[in-house]
């Protein structure tokens, strides 16, 4: 049996009396597109913070390709291939789109303790950055200052940054948040193209998108995974209907 690409073993997190992550265990085989859904306040973002190393877990462990990465910091996990995006757009607004992505290449390629030479003109970094930008459909916007991109483009840029880091496991924290229908369609098509090329854990509110993209879906309610399975199975799960889908519908 191959090791899962990403495995969560009994993760817990509480803020005072409030339990946000409650004994979460999950295993993603290599190449799986897995989505986590759940109502607001279910603890989805906290969970992704714990997986990526932004927030320490109270107990439990995170395993990447069979190796325990629980003790590693966010940048260290990135170097191991665990890369994330943020729910609230997180880019370098004063840098060009190209430089945003080139920095991710730079983090992976060679030392950044170089004090001479113009980083902006390093073809080795820029070529790979352009490649990632083209992949997400921003090839023509490379020279634009990132802060001036539209909201949807910024979300595309975030994915390009993540791709340039060459992730084995990609964590996407509500990539569709705040996007209009057209922007969503672009991003969903993009995620469709990424499917199978790497292991993806998607946290998303948009049900339609989740059921269209994910091979497996887990439902998080009050920090606990109450169901996990194929989209069809999860949709028909009675617990899920009452706990989550029912609430949304009614």
């Amino acid at each position: 049996m191959a090791e899962p690409a990403l495995e969560l073993r009994d993760l817990n997190k509480a803020y005072g009396a409030l339990t946000v992550t409650d004994h979460v265990s999950l295993a993603l085989p290599d190449g799986e597109f897995h989505a986590i859904i759940g109502p607001n306040g279910a603890g989805k973002t906290t969970l992704i913070h714990q997986i990526s190393g932004v927030v320490p877990s109270d107990s439990g462990s995170v395993w990447l390709g069979g190796r325990d990465v629980t003790g590693l910091s966010l940048p260290e996990r990135v170097h191991r291939g665990l890369v994330r995006s943020f729910q609230i757009t997180s880019i370098l607004p004063g840098f060009s789109a190209l430089e945003n992505v080139a920095l991710a290449v730079q983090a992976r390629e060679g030392s950044s303790f170089r004090f001479f030479g113009r980083a902006r003109e390093e073809a080795r970094l820029n070529d790979q950055a352009i490649e990632a930008l083209e992949e997400v459909g921003l090839g023509k916007r490379a020279g634009i200052r990132a802060g001036l991109l539209s909201h949807g483009e910024k979300r595309q840029l975030e994915i390009a940054i993540a791709l340039a880091a060459r992730p084995r496991v990609l964590l996407l924290d509500e990539p569709l948040a705040g996007t209009g229908p057209e922007e969503s369609a672009v991003l969903i098509a993009l995620m469709q193209r990424l499917r199978g090329r790497m292991t993806i854990l998607l946290i998303e509110h948009d049900m339609e998108a989740v059921f269209a993209l994910a091979e497996r879906v887990s439902v998080l309610v009050y920090g606990r995974i109450i169901a996990s399975g194929t989209p069809a199975a999860v949709r028909d799960d009675p617990d899920v209907r009452t706990a989550y889908l029912g609430e949304e519908g009614g």
Binding site: V54, S90, G94, A104, F113, R114
Partner: protein, 324 residues
Amino acid sequence: MTMPPENGPGFLKREAVPVLLFALLALVPFAAVLGAESYLLSLVTRVMIFAIAALSLDLILGYGALVSFGHAAFLGLGGYAVGILSAHGQTDALVQLPVALAVSALFALITGALSLRTKGVYFIMITLAFGQMAFFLAVSLAAYGGDDGMTLPGRSRLFGMELIKNDRAFYYAVLLALLGAYGLCRSIVVSRFGRVIRGARENPQRMAAIGFPLFRYQLVGYVIAGTLCGLAGFLLANQAEFVSPAYMTWQRSGELIVMVVLGGLGTLHGAIIGAAAFLLLEEWLSGFTEHWKMIFGPFLVLVVLFARGGLMGAIRRIGGGGHG
């Protein structure tokens, strides 16, 4: 928005400010012959020394958003390295300068490693506290003049020769140091390393998620800035032929911040212009009244309010250039 190539016909236009600035500085000694030579030389030498200190601060403050409120400590460390070695008969710059730089680097490494664990206002407070520690250490050095400071036997020698004894020779030595410091900083800010520092100013969370452990980059930046400021301290002691705890008062640290902000954060030549504007205004205004700060204060407020980007921002707007 586009990235112009570094060389080409646009070079002089784009680099007009630094080119003019350094040409002007190189010509000052010739103008000085016309009258009041020693006064003018010593004033502009002082400007250039503080410009080095301000440059070094701009590297971390302007490009890294690290508001160090204890930067004057490095002026003192560099100065005291000269003073204390001289007091023990070691007057050669070949010894004094490396010691001044090494002491500054070490102090930056230790205080930076602790300070950089904090953020925002706590970083300001802790760098201030370290600056005050250095200040009070100097006050307590009774053997080296304590509160009163100490007079040096003379300027540093080079291979035993009194190469910078002459004010004009010293002036050019300082100009060379400033040019070197400026060139080094210019190189750093566009390098891979500088890009990480600038990225951390924009969005530290994003930089961490890209895979940069920022602490170590910021620490190295802090050490570079501290070492460079130690060079300014070495030069300042040589100019005044005197060192005292007054080099490292917290007011002095504040003045360095003012110079950088006045000139324009994150522009490097702005730091030079800011240092010049600060010291020349101080000199000029204090000729009218001893309460010159009453005029200087409101002037600063006006610059901050109305000339966003400091004097460099104003120059850019007058020059008609777009956003650089």
